[in-house]
Structure formats: C-alpha cells, structure tokens
Symmetry: none
Subunit: 228 residues, 2 copies
DNA sequence: CAAAATCTTTATAAAATCTTTACACCCCTC
DNA sequence: GAGGGGTGTAAAGATTTTATAAAGATTTTG
C-alpha cells in the first residue's frame, strides 16, 4: 500500500519532525498530534491507515489512549515508548497494539515494521490503467484491451504504444520514438516508425483510415489522444 | 485463537525446550524442528498457525528459509535471532516476517507478541488456492489438480507454475522467471525455460498446441491466464 | 549400488517478428 | 500538372525467437 496515511501521536517535537520527514520521504502521508486528545480527534475525523502512538503523552496515560482507540479502530497501531519494561510491552500488545518499539529507535527498522504491519492489510487492488475510452492499457500487466477484448501486440508494438500513451496529448518526435524503442543507432530509420505505426493503427483503431488515437503530426512526430 | 499450533524452528536445544514448556503451558500446541530442512517439511505437511523461526540455523541461511516459507505460507512468522543489526531486522521483515525478537528474549514479551500476531489472523481464509477454471493450484499443499485429478509435477515445474499463477494475468519476463526458479546465475539460459514451459503445457493444458493458461509473449516472457 | 526420476544439453523444425523494398498517396510549390 | 518531401500500406525476404523431441548427465530413491 503506497501513499498510506499515518498518524503520529507524540509530544516530543523532535520525534514528530523526524517522523514527518522520514515517513514523507518514503511516500507516506503524515499527520501529527501532540496530545492524546488531539490524536484521538484526528483519528476519528480522518481515520489513517496506521497509527504511531507514544505511550508517554502529557495529558493522558498511553495505555488508556490505546484502549480508547481500539474501541473502534481496527488498523495497525505501533507503539513508541521510552519504557522498555516487559510489563509495559505486554500490556500494550495485549491492549491491541500491533508492535512496540523502544526509543531511541532506528528509523530503518521502524519503516520496515510499518511496511510489515501494512502488508497484512492490502486487499486486491487493481493496477494503474491508462484509459483512452475504448482502449485500456495496463502497464503492470502489459496488456492492451479494446472494448474489453485483449489485443495481441508484439514487443516492439507494445513499447511504442506505451510510450505514446504515457505521454498522452503530447507530440513525440520521430527521433525520440526511434531512440527509445529501437536505440540511439536508429534515429534515421523513420521508415520503421511508419511501418509500426501502421500496424498499431490496424490493431487499435476502429477505422485505421481515420485514426482517433494515434495522430500524425506531419514533419514532427506522433501524438496519442485518449478521448473517446 | 486458543490451542493454536505453533512450529518452532531452532537448532539450540535449550531454546526449543524453553519454548515447548512455555508455549504448552499457555495452551498452544507446539512442534519443533532442529534444521531448516525439517522445519520446512513439517510446515508443509502440517501447516501450523504460526511459525517461530531462528535465523541462525546450521544448514541454511535463515533469510532464505523465510523466503521459501513465504512462497506459500500466509500465517504469522516471528523471527528469533541473536543478530540485532538493523540490516538483518529490515531484511527479515521485508521478506515477510511479522515480528523480530532479539535473543535473549523475555518469554512474557514473546507470548504477548504471539497473541498479537494471532489476533489479526482470526478471520483469515483457508489455504490459498489459485483457481483457473479446470486447474486448481493449492499453494499450501503444493498440489495441482486438473479436472479434480492430481497432476504430478517436478519441483522445478511446480516452482515455475506457482510463480506464473501467483501473478495471474501479468507478463513475467524470461529474466525474472530464470532468476526466481534457477537463481541469478541462470538469467541467460532461456532454453531451460522453453523446455520446462513445454513440459508444463503438456501436463496442464487440454491441448498443448493451443495453450489456454500459459501464454507466450514473444521476446518478453510468459503470462498465466486463469479464466476458462 | 542399481533403477528411476529429473535436469541439462543439443539439434532441428516451426512460428513469430523484424527489416527491407516497392509503390501509392496527399499536399504543397513552382 | 509536374516534381518533391513526407507519409501509409502491403508483402517478400531475413532474422530472431520459440517449441519439441530426444540423448546424455546428474540426482534422487529404494
């Protein structure tokens, strides 16, 4: 799960800063709270995918905060605490925490434990798809569908189409396409392009004589249009 | 979950004794293995509800054992290790471990972490089965059935098929398949792939000349299709 | 240790894809 | 309307990739 939302509840400003920077640079969305009260409010208004909770908050006992949170919150909670006593760890885990790290902690380990905790949560998510009306290009699965029928493309055809589709709306020059698909030694082989563009149009256009997706920009290159 | 079955894989006899006594007195069913080989065999024959794995086994690197286990095992795995380096911890967690405890550990904490790990599992499904119409691949039992008849596959054939099936719909490149099945030193041995794909098709396809499950993507790789 | 099973290697045919050629077309200018 | 640049298309080779069988080599099993 990428871009997961993480709520950090900790009263130490240095820790909050450190976590904000570390987590955001690992493409998590971070919200912070300084007190138990704030933390619980934010969690309720805007349920995150994971909570990092400091046990040593000033306004309320951490174990009690955890209990309140667990009354309704089912996603992972990771405890951070200066307390390393077994009693505290067992209590927190039995109150519903998924993990417990003693401060000072190593950021790499924290990140790995976050990934581990989030891993169990992923549901069948679909791949990112370039949608062009009657055409769907699934870059992860490497498939192209037209009106829900899978179209068989050769390696070169697919490479060309995926380049065009990823820069939807923009003109890609002959030079650029030749270099990216065939390699730097082929930038003068414009005929290759014509042949493969023609083959692509035959496969993906409803009427290859009146192309709607792959548009010729005479003298410059080709442009992919998504619109129906 | 009470009476959960726990498999302990550790070569130190004192640890095994300690865990057997501790866990059994907390009403878990315990099985023990002394080596990676034994551990993997027991896990496969008799899948436990949770595995406790020592990283420092004599016969095989612990990270490699974890990876093999995770190819099909979806329930919690807790790592025990004398290694406390961040590198080891991060690697183990990213290889699919749910938790990591450094030896010597406190039994109360271990018990709490076991309870925590089992807690998330209550509503988990049974054996993960990849269903492909006339084909059923049971990743936990390592069996493949076609029209309810069990098919005999060699270790390599099974590994290849299970990789393809786990990424249903996606193209897996030659490189990737060779690296995962044969190891990083074999990524140029495309002929191996062709031979084993042909053997697999002969076993699982209704008509090996017109494959419906294992599709060739010329110049790129192969793709597994589930739908009938 | 011998037999069986499996894996590796080689050889060859078939299929798929890429490259090249040839020519038609369009649009513009002269 | 002739000529020329840029483009589209079909189809014939050329090349690469794939499928398959089968012979050795190796490992596993009894």
């Amino acid at each position: 799960m990428n871009n997961a939302a993480i709520l950090v509840i900790d009263d130490e400003v240095q820790i909050r800063r450190l976590l904000e920077i570390t987590l955001e640079s690992n493409s998590f969305n971070v919200e912070s709270a300084e007190t138990a009260k704030d933390g619980l409010r934010i969690a309720a208004n805007h349920p995150p995918d994971l909570v990092i909770l400091d046990l040593g908050l000033p306004d309320e006992d951490g174990h009690s905060v955890l209990k309140k949170l667990r009354e309704w919150y089912t996603k992972p909670v990771i405890i951070l605490s200066v307390q390393s006593s077994e009693e505290n760890i067992v209590k927190a885990l039995d109150n519903g925490a998924n993990d417990y790290l003693v401060k000072p902690f190593r950021t790499g380990e924290l990140l790995a434990r976050i990934r581990s905790a989030l891993r169990g949560m992923v549901s069948e998510e679909n791949d990112p798809v370039v949608d062009a009306g009657d055409l769907q290009i699934d870059l992860a699965a490497r498939t192209v569908k037209k009106n829900n029928e899978t179209i068989k493309l050769t390696a070169t055809e697919y490479k060309l189409l995926s380049l065009l589709a990823q820069h939807e709306g923009k003109v890609l020059t002959h030079q650029y396409l030749l270099r990216e698909v065939w390699g730097p030694g082929y930038i003068s082989q414009s005929q290759y392009l014509r042949v493969f563009i023609a083959q692509l149009r035959k496969k993906i256009e409803t009427d290859a004589n009146r192309p709607e997706h792959i548009i010729t920009e005479s003298g410059v290159g080709y442009r992919f249009i998504a619109k129906e």
